[in-house]
């Protein structure tokens, strides 16, 4: 059945693209017509002419306006404190669960819809990442960092809507399908040693959840192209046309993410919509080569950037199929506060009245005036709220090209919102025998993190979830778990609220540790350590480049009580802006630690020949002497020795030769010296002949 569908898929897509080319001039209300156009010829060969038209008519009768697929494209730009720029692309397609289209879709990628249907995926997230997210300088408290900061390599988790015993089978099939779809080795996640089923510490807790990572997977354009193919406009028009491969892969961080979920738009709706969220997060350096001079001064001017300088391209209009197409520019709280401080200073000299939205300010200049300014709503009035400028593409003054540029006029230094605790994970010990994994959490300082009054500090508890998967060849001894809070050893019972451990089984399953730590709110540092032994692998199990070492995937640290969300003051407008509304969702702060590299004992792969040779020699010597001893009969030998001349001509010859030799050894024991002098003479003679021969020939 899938094969059959796939056969028609290119057909449909070709028509879809053809239609989209003709669309831009016509405006937005063309959807119904478009659907008819694209669907009619397809259904002909499948169900016969009558049934198909009937089907479509009945669907039309059900209500054309209600079931509508939706696609939005958004881009968020954010200047970062360390002179870099964050670009976060967000594409969202929504497909209602309806029989209206049959097996086909209008905007929603068919490949994904089939996956959802076939494997009954309730929720899924797949990310491809290159580079590390710098939590300290790029932020660890905002929605983008907690949702889009991912560990290097591939991370995949999925929740299935199937009975518990079928989850593993669905997962295995899913990994293979995704592997083919994204040109990546996701199929390695099929093996039960690579995935795990977290129950406690991973966010969407479910029995049907499976989680796996491939830390060593390289990410490149071959993974991006299939990802782009899922978009209705690909990278031909709209915001996705900015994705110039050389510029986005030159960045410091690159994470491409695909998330599937089911959302009920209205509470009373019978079915939930399938939402496909595709995000690409890149951190770019505005000017390719960092200039030297800027480093020397303490307060340096940030580099000026524009969309064309960052990506080498401009936005040429919106994607015609997109319901909304927006670009945002976000200024962080601390930056806004800094601006205000700067303004206060300038006010003394400058009489001009400054508006609250900071569009005109002394520090920077934005080339295009925003359509809308969104302000963050904060509980406390003391802090200044972050600002988000919204630009809608296609509706702005110059509809054809959109090139936002950001010019710094005076040096500003600010810092981003750091995570409540800074986590780092490292290995202790050396050698090929054993080691220790340590996860250390440090508070970022008194001003950061939790805003708890002094009164509450005594009984206030900060829960921290830690989720750690360890491959089976790292044999962790969970009884060696030690917890240190503020450098003081604590008993595990006091510090750990809940813990769930599934020990690894050799070559079958990885070790999983999930724990909920309860830390006092004013904690300065907390460390947990786990000792492990390094196992031995079978020679077939070593990957290529085994001498590099083996990876321990990132641990995930979640702060379930602290939510990274931004609330905006204009609620009404947000409905059609999925990116901004996703900021308002209550997502806990998530933090990925570093990937660790464990050196294991590695055999010398270049020496199989030596091993074979030495084994063969040992076997030959052993069996040779054994057979010799078993076979030999002393009396028989003597008898044979005495009975001469009865054998064939060859043995007679040997006997004759031997006879002449055996006279001396039998005579006396002292004759061995004579024997040896003869031997030495012979050797010397042979050597002399050899030298002569060498001399003459050379």
């Amino acid at each position: 059945m899938p094969k059959e569908i796939l056969e028609y898929w290119p057909h449909l897509s070709a028509i879809g693209v053809g239609a989209s080319v003709t669309l831009p001039g016509l405006g937005g209300d063309i959807h119904g017509q478009y659907i008819n156009m694209s669907l009619d010829p397809i259904d002909w060969p499948m169900n016969g002419p009558f049934s198909s038209t009937l089907g479509i008519r009945s669907a039309l009768n059900c209500g054309l306006s209600k079931v509508e697929e939706k696609f939005t494209e958004e881009l968020l730009l954010k200047p970062l404190p360390d002179r870099k720029v964050l670009a976060h692309f967000h594409f969202e397609s929504t497909a209602p669960r309806t029989q209206y289209y049959g097996r086909h879709h209008h905007l929603f990628p068919k490949a994904i819809a089939q996956l959802v249907q076939k494997f009954s995926i309730r929720e899924m997230e797949l990310s491809f990442t290159q580079g590390r997210w710098e939590y300290e300088s790029w932020g660890g408290y905002d929605p983008i960092s907690s949702s889009s900061a991912k560990p290097p390599g591939v991370e995949l988790w999925a929740v299935f809507d199937v009975p518990v015993d079928q989850v593993d089978a669905s997962w295995k099939n899913l990994t293979h399908s995704l592997s083919g779809l994204f040109c990546a080795s996701i199929n390695f996640l099929e093996s039960s040693t690579t995935y795990s089923a977290p129950e406690l510490a991973f966010h969407p807790a479910s029995v049907n959840l499976r989680y796996g990572t491939l830390p060593r997977e390289a990410v490149c354009t071959e993974n991006l192209t299939p990802w782009l193919k899922l978009l209705p406009c690909r990278d031909k028009s709209g915001i996705s046309s900015l994705l110039d491969r050389p510029s986005i892969y030159r960045g410091f961080y690159h994470s491409q993410r695909l998330r599937l979920r089911h959302v009920k738009i209205r509470a009373d709706a019978p079915d939930s919509d399938t939402v496909l969220e595709q995000t690409l997060t890149v951190v770019l350096q505005p000017n390719g080569i960092r200039s030297k001079e800027s480093h020397s001064s303490k307060r340096k001017l940030h580099p000026t950037w524009s969309m064309s300088s960052l990506f080498g391209r401009k936005i040429e209009g919106r994607c015609a199929l997109a319901k909304s197409s927006n670009v945002y520019l976000q200024l962080e709280r601390d930056l806004v506060a800094e601006m205000k401080r700067l303004k206060e200073k300038r006010k003394i000299f400058d009489i001009s009245v400054l508006n609250e939205d900071l569009i005109e300010n002394p520090a920077f200049e934005i080339s295009i005036k925003p359509d809308l300014v969104l302000r963050e709503v904060l509980s406390s009035q003391t802090e200044s709220s972050s600002l988000t400028y919204e630009y809608s593409i296609g509706k702005s003054a110059s509809p054809n090209t959109f090139d936002l540029s950001f010019t710094w006029k005076s040096p500003v230094a600010w810092s981003c919102r750091k995570p409540p605790l800074r986590a780092s994970r490292f290995l202790m010990g050396s050698g090929n025998e054993r080691g220790t994994i340590a996860i250390s959490l440090r508070s970022m300082g008194p001003d950061e993190g939790l805003n708890v009054s002094d009164m509450d500090k005594e009984r206030c508890v900060l829960p921290v979830n830690i989720f750690q998967v360890v491959p089976w060849y790292i044999k962790v001894y969970f009884h060696t778990l030690k917890v240190f809070i503020d450098e003081k050893p604590m008993s595990v019972l006091d510090a750990v609220e809940k813990i769930h451990i599934s020990p690894s089984e050799d070559k079958v399953s990885p070790g999983v540790m999930e724990m909920v730590l309860k830390l006092p709110c004013g904690v300065k540092s907390a460390t947990i350590t786990l000792e492990f032994d390094k196992g031995f692998l079978h020679i077939d199990e070593y990957p290529p480049d085994a001498n590099q070492g083996f990876d321990i995937p990132s641990a995930i640290i979640t702060f379930p009580n602290i939510e990274a969300s931004i609330y905006f003051d204009q609620e009404i407008t947000l409905k059609d802006l999925p990116l901004l509304s996703s900021f308002q969702e209550k997502n806990p702060i998530r933090y990925y630690t570093e990937v660790l590299l464990v050196p294991l004992t590695t055999p010398d792969f270049s020496m199989p020949y030596n091993v074979i040779t030495i084994t063969c020699t040992v076997f030959a010597l052993y069996f040779g002497s054994l057979l010799n001893v078993l076979r030999r009969r002393v009396s028989e030998e003597e008898r044979l020795h005495n009975a001469k001349g009865k054998s064939g001509p060859l043995s007679r010859l040997i006997a004759k030769l031997r006879r002449s030799k055996e006279i001396q050894p039998q005579s006396t024991t002292t004759s061995s010296s004579l024997f040896s002098s003869k031997l030495i003479l012979k050797i010397i003679m042979v050597a002399a002949i050899a030298i002569c021969w060498q001399y003459l020939s050379g």
Partner: protein, 695 residues
């Protein structure tokens, strides 16, 4: 090897060969010993040219990116450091200045405060890393150093691996060379913070070498590799006052909290220690390579190869490894070199394809380098801060630059060459996907570009050691030849097995005494005597006392008259020496090699002083003289002073020097110390016992 076989029966060839060799043990021993020494002398000729074994390294395939601009920046730092020197209070300023420069590059900065560990003898801690928990007892709070750590993160890397650059810097007594070494590393580091090709993080450790270069690096490594949780608090609050921090670090404490935060990167792939010395060389900039770590461990040969290749072929530096200078002028070596050269010429005339023999000058040079390579490996003491890395299985090498002049105008040129070399090496290591594993770990260098691998240098040792079991077996088998000749005819009273047991007991007791001797310095150190000579005297007295006590308690008889006894004892001694040397060759090959050179001839030759009437007086006399000479040469203090005299000249020798030397051995946890006290000395005593045997 059973001697009682029916002569009629034909034995298996391997047994016959064994019997043949044993029956000619004297000839075999002489041939083997001589050929062992000859093979050792031939090693410089058998040395191979080094080659880069790991293809991924690709040294020198990229053009250096380091420009004059980087060097200009580095020169600014050098000048700033030199300006600091003139200021009266500069001890803590240096670290803050360096930290400022690093943070201006956009790299992470951290401080590491450490208390230098005083070297103490832990008799049970041999071969184990010092336990970081135990060192807190002997910490002096007023003595501490501060290392500065800069980390450049690889822009697109995953941070699993790191390359370490170390610059030792004496913050109290800094001079131009120290400033230059910081400048040199800074220029490389500033480039590395900007490049895009970096795959591994770069850690730059500016090690405070106030209390020694090694101790600061090893303290940092200890905290990096095996930190102790829950201990630093105790250290700071209880033992040491919190207010003892320097004035200028308080600034950093308040603004950045840098000192509490120990900065880390991933698993270390390799480490380079960069130093500049003021010892100027004539005409050319020179690079000295130091690579010996504790117990004769060496870094992977590929690391040395890339440094050598880039220094010679890219930067035009003159690369040197340590050599024993006195050997260069030794007469005997010159003669030997000439002989070998002529042999080589003759051989080449026989067949031009045989590449045997090298020019005399090259041979002398190679021998001097080989000798020093052997000596420093045998000593078991690391030759620089790189030794600390080897303890954690990280390949490290010390690059010591000595510019031919340090005039003001030459700084930039020198900095450019040196830092381009370091850049190239780091780029090569950065290319490496796996850890160093491809090339040799066991080798001896005969020049920076030539090496002797383990397969070749094993041969002299095996040849030297091989006669020991042969001789032992032959002596054991020939007891009967001696036995019936004794007039008392005690053979019936003491059968061979009993004699053998006595001898084995003797050997064991003496070795037990050896292990007691090895523990005595610990007690002597606790008593704290002033001079080394005094310590040495007490040590030797106590050792002698112990020996006498042991003999009294366990009842050893010194006046055995039976001839068979000393023969069996010699046989047992030979076996003990053989086992000891073979064991030592696994731990530290160079020690075993030198030990074999001293012990094997002595053990083979040893014979009681009594004149044998069956032989001529000349033979008797020469044998006695030879015994005496060999015995005195193999006595550890004498061999130490002889070696020392041969290398540095005999003037100004103090008896206490030996104590100092031994002290340094155990302070560095060298296995050579164990070898000397537990193998060499007991065997020497056994030989002495045989020599003084009455019959």
């Amino acid at each position: 090897m059973a001697p009682k076989e029916t002569p009629k029966m034909k034995q298996r060839p391997i047994v016959r060969l064994g019997i043949l060799i044993i029956s000619h043990s004297v000839v075999v021993s002489v041939i083997c010993c001589i050929s062992g020494v000859v093979a050792l002398l031939l090693l410089p000729i058998l040395a191979k040219n080094t080659y880069i074994s790991e293809n991924a390294l690709m040294p020198g395939s990229a053009n250096p990116m380091l420009s004059d601009q980087d060097v200009g920046e580095a020169n600014k730092l050098v000048n700033a450091l030199l300006d600091l020197k003139s200021e009266p209070i500069s001890s803590g300023r240096v670290s803050t200045l360096v930290a400022e420069f690093i943070s201006d590059l956009g790299a992470e900065v951290g401080y590491h405060k450490f208390y230098p560990e005083s070297n103490q003898f832990h008799p049970l801690h041999f071969f184990s890393l010092p336990d970081s928990g135990s060192l807190q007892e002997n910490v002096n709070c007023s003595m501490y150093g501060i290392n500065v750590i800069g980390i450049a993160r690889a822009p697109q890397g995953d941070g699993k691996e790191a390359v370490v650059l170390v610059t030792p810097y004496n913050s109290e007594n800094a001079d131009l060379s120290d400033a230059l070494s910081i400048g040199l590393t800074y220029s490389v580091f500033s480039l590395l913070t900007q490049v895009t090709w970096l795959a591994k993080d770069i850690i730059w450790l500016v090690a405070d070498s106030r209390y020694g270069e090694y101790s600061s690096v090893s303290a940092w490594l200890r905290d990096y590799q095996r930190p102790v949780f829950g201990a630093s608090l105790i250290l700071d609050s209880d033992t040491c006052d919190g207010g003892s921090r320097p004035y200028d670090l308080d600034n950093f404490m308040t603004c950045g909290k840098l000192i509490d935060n120990f900065k880390r990167a991933g698993t270390m792939a390799a480490a380079l220690v960069v130093k500049v010395t003021e010892k100027s060389e004539p005409f050319v900039d020179t690079l000295n390579l130091y690579s010996e770590a504790s117990n004769g461990q060496m870094p992977n040969l590929d690391l040395i190869n890339i440094v050598n290749y880039l220094a010679v072929h890219r930067q035009g530096l003159h690369v040197k490894v340590k050599k024993l200078i006195p050997l260069l002028n030794a007469k005997w070596l010159n003669v030997l070199a000439d002989i070998l050269e002529t042999v080589g010429v003759i051989v080449r005339r026989l067949n031009p394809q045989w590449k045997f023999g090298i020019p005399a000058a090259e041979y002398i040079d190679g021998t001097a380098t080989l000798a020093s390579s052997l000596y420093y490996q045998a000593l078991g003491i690391p030759t620089g801060p790189h030794g600390a890395f080897r303890d954690y299985q990280v390949d490290a090498v010390t690059l010591e630059f000595s510019p031919y002049s340090l005039r003001k105008g030459r700084h930039k040129e020198f900095l450019l060459r040196g830092s381009r070399l370091i850049e190239g090496v780091i780029r090569s290591v950065n290319n490496l996907l796996e850890k160093f594993h491809q090339s040799f770990f066991l080798y001896l260098l005969t020049s920076p570009g030539r090496f002797v691998s383990v397969g070749v240098y094993m041969i002299p040792f095996i040849l030297l050691v091989a006669p020991l079991p042969v001789m032992a077996a032959s002596l054991y088998m020939n007891i009967f030849d001696f036995g019936p000749n004794t007039e008392t005819g005690q053979l019936a009273v003491s059968p061979r097995s009993v004699t053998w047991l006595d001898a084995a007991k003797m050997v064991l007791i003496v070795h037990f005494w050896g292990s007691i001797v090895s523990l005595l310095p610990y007690c002597i150190c606790q008593m704290d005597f002033s001079t080394p000579t005094m310590n040495l005297a007490i040590w030797s007295m106590l050792s002698a006392l112990c020996f006498l006590l042991l003999c009294l308690v366990l009842g050893l008889h010194f006046n055995q008259t039976e001839k068979a006894k000393w023969v069996v004892l010699k046989s047992a001694t030979l076996s003990a020496v053989f086992i000891g040397l073979c064991l030592m060759s696994v731990v530290n090959f160079a020690t075993a090699e030198i030990g074999a050179l001293l012990l094997v001839p002595l053990c083979l030759m040893i014979h009681p002083l009594k004149i044998n009437p069956n032989m001529g007086t000349l033979v008797n006399f020469s044998r006695m003289a030879l015994n005496f000479i060999l015995l005195s040469m193999a006595f550890p203090p004498v061999s130490f002073f002889l070696l020392r005299g041969a290398v540095y000249g005999f003037h100004g020798i103090d008896i206490g020097d030996f104590w100092m030397w031994v002290e340094s051995l155990w302070a560095w946890n060298s296995a050579t110390y164990l070898y000397i006290t537990m193998i060499h000395l007991p065997c020497w005593v056994l030989c002495l016992h045989i020599l003084l045997h009455a019959r």
